[in-house]
Every structure is written in C-alpha cells, then in structure tokens.
C-alpha cells in the first residue's frame, strides 16, 4: 500500500483570522449562491462597523420626519419567517400608536451588545429596547407593589382603618 503523507506544514497562517466577526463577503456570497442563506435584506452578522450602521439609520430617518411625509418604517423580518414564533413575539396592535421620538447615542460597547440582541432576536433596535424597558418596568412595578401593602398595613394599624390598596396603575 502506498503510504500517503500528511500535508506539509506552512507558516503562512490563516489569512481570515483577522477578519471582522461574522462571515466574510466571499463566504456570504457563497452561501447565497448555493441558496443556503437569505440574501441580505436584514442586517447581516457583524459585517459593517456598528457605529456606522447606527449613524446611517438615524440619518436616513431624519429627512423623512422633516419632510412631512410618512416616515419610512424599518423593514421587519419576513412575516413568513416569523410564523412559527408568532406566539412568542409581543403583540402589535394594528392601531396607530402614539410614538415618542428621541435621539440617543450609546457607548460603543453597549451599542455592540444591543446589536447582538437585535441579531439574536431578529428584530429591530426599537423592538429590543422596548422589550427591555417593558420587562424592567413590570419588575419595578411588582417590587413597588410588594412593598406597598406592608406600608398600608402600618397605616391601618395606626388609624384603625383599612389602608389604601395597592396602586391600581
């Protein structure tokens, strides 16, 4: 039997080792050509710099708001893709909601984490932030409510009258 030899060691190293996180453009194209990946309609995993992405988002929204036309909504992930996770997503009412627009800038590391959450949840920054604020709000309300009956008991003991119940809000 002819004995095969292992490939020779080379000292050139792995060229792609220094590439930014995520797929390289060539790998992305390869997957798309093979139909193994969706063409990039949504933000792909970590290819462009994050700060630039955020800046471009905000700058593209500004003119729309000032022109008086309907602001262009950021395209949400495909509805078809969300079919199987619909139950887990927060409900969105069809009614127009009152929106409050503000402009924030986050520290780079927080922005990077926010971007990770966006990619993981396949949502938008607004969606992720809304979810976080909502959850934190619920937690805080619960903590306040747990604290309040104890205070109410003290009052009722002092006055001999039933104390005020927890804040209905």
């Amino acid at each position: 039997m002819a004995r095969t030899k292992p490939p020779a060691y080379d000292s050139e190293g792995f060229e792609a080792a220094h590439q930014p996180r995520g797929l390289s453009p060539s790998a992305k194209k390869f997957l798309e050509d093979k139909g193994m990946s969706k063409p990039a309609t949504k933000t792909p995993g970590g290819s462009p710099p994050r700060a630039g992405k955020l800046a471009s988002n905000t700058s593209s929204k500004k003119p729309a708001a000032t022109s008086g036309s309907k602001p262009s909504r950021k395209k949400a992930p495909d509805v078809k893709d969300r079919g199987d996770i619909a139950g887990e997503l927060p409900r969105r009412s069809r009614k127009a909601r009152a929106l409050q627009a503000r402009h924030f800038r986050f520290p780079c590391e927080i922005d990077a984490k926010l971007q990770d959450l966006v990619e993981y949840h396949e949502g938008t920054m607004v969606w992720v932030l809304s979810m976080l604020v909502q959850n934190e709000w619920v937690k805080t309300r619960r903590a306040l409510r747990e604290r309040q009956p104890a205070a109410g008991d003290e009052v009722s003991e002092a006055t001999g009258e039933p104390g005020p119940g927890p804040d209905p809000a």
Binding site: T4, P6, F14, A16, A17, R21, S26, I85, E119, Y120
Partner: protein
C-alpha cells in the same frame, strides 16, 4: 427578558449541533470535524460553521487549502462545505445539518441555538468548564450530550474522578452522558496532522480510538434523525 426566548425557532428543519465546552482543548474541533466527515459519507447536506477565530476546523476540512484560507469558505463536496464565521453564528438554511465549532465562549455558543449540544469533557477543568454553564445549557431546552474524551490520559485516577463527578450530576431530562469513552488516541492526533478523519489515515481503521470516535459521530447523527443514504460509503 428571558435569556432563551427561542426566537429563532428550535423547530427549524435545519438541525443544528453545537460542539461546546467552556474550556478549550477538550475536543470540540475534533468532534465537529469528524461528525462532518461522517455526515458527508452519509450524504447529509452539511455546513460546518467555524465560529472559533482559530479556524482549525476550516483548516482540517480543507486540508490547509490556500484558497479556503483566503476566502474563508470551502466546498469540500456536494454534501459538505465549511464557512468561517468568527464569533457569529451565520443564518443558514436549505441544508440538513449545521455543525457549529464553538469557541470556549458561552455568549457566542448561545447564538447557535442548537437542537443538540455536544460537550466533550476531560479532567477536572474540562468538567468545570461544563458545570460552569450546565444550568444554562439545561435551561436552553436543547438536548445535551456529554462525552468523556481522551480517557486514559492522566491515568486511572483522572478517569475515576471524572466518572464519579459525572455520576453525581443532578438529573435533567435533556442531559445525557454518552455511555462509551473516547480513548486517548495517537491515531486521532495523527488525523489532525493528516487533516483527515482518524479512520481514513494509514492504519487508522485498526485503531480503537478512531472506531470509538466514529461510533460517537454516528450516534450524534442518528440522534439528529439522520441515517446513511443509499450509496453512501458505510
């Protein structure tokens, strides 16, 4: 916010297997690459996603191909391709199986959202590397397969201590300990040197280590619902 919202559906038709331990050097890359080789033989359309910046699984699968090093992808056959995607799990569809070679970094491994975690363990630190994140893995609701790797290295006391520790793990529905050991094997090491499967290198077929490793890879694939296709080299 729950940490495991399963937003990317676990029920996706693409099976994802994440090879992970919080400690490096436990056998993640070895298991990933060999499972990929068996999947290729079984004609399971597979993508190996190398999330580790070291890119070792890419080099192994591509046999150090220069173009693969530059392009960060490699098409080995109709059934097996590898992509290099450091620290980020790419969105892959229209394949049967995605094998993720994770770096020892839990936050990155979590993004794989796998159907099966394969956790190689060896020695005290390898065991600690698993138990550090065990709760999180269990809560992820995916199946967990813990595999004793390089058994024999360090002598019988290391083996005994690990077995005792594994036996004391709290029971969990989705946690299984692979019954057989993957022995410490020169053949498996030589497989890395040859950039090929341990059983495909000279004298590899006779090796117990290669046979045990192959059996494990087949177990992983069967567990994901795959079986050898007609005409595959089995």
């Amino acid at each position: 916010m729950t940490r495991y919202p399963a937003m990317k559906s676990l029920q996706s038709s693409v099976k994802r297997v994440a090879f992970f331990n919080h400690k490096g050097g436990c056998g993640k890359t070895t298991f990933t690459v060999h499972t990929a080789f068996v999947a290729e033989e079984w004609r399971v359309r597979t993508i190996l996603a190398c999330l580790d910046r070291q890119g070792n699984s890419m080099g192994w699968v591509s046999k150090g191909d220069k173009a693969a090093k530059a392009d960060a992808f490699y098409e080995r056959s109709d059934y097996l391709s590898a992509v290099f995607s450091p620290l980020v799990m790419p969105d892959i569809e229209n394949v049967d199986l995605v094998l993720a070679d994770c770096p020892p970094e839990f936050d990155i491994a979590l993004t794989v959202n796998p159907t099966l975690w394969v956790v190689p363990v060896h020695g005290r630190q390898g065991f600690d590397g698993f138990t550090n994140v065990m709760e999180d893995l269990i809560r992820s609701r995916a199946e967990i397969l813990v595999v004793k790797n390089t058994v024999g290295r360090g002598g019988p006391s290391v083996k005994r201590n690990l077995e005792e520790a594994l036996a004391k793990l709290p029971p969990a529905k989705n946690l299984t300990i692979y019954a057989e050991d993957i022995p410490d094997s020169d053949t498996i090491i030589r497989g890395e040197d040859y950039c090929d499967a341990a059983w495909a290198i000279p004298y590899g077929k006779k090796s117990n280590g290669a046979a045990a490793l192959r059996k494990l890879c087949e177990h992983i694939l069967r567990r994901c619902g795959f079986a050898p296709q007609k005409g595959s080299k089995v």
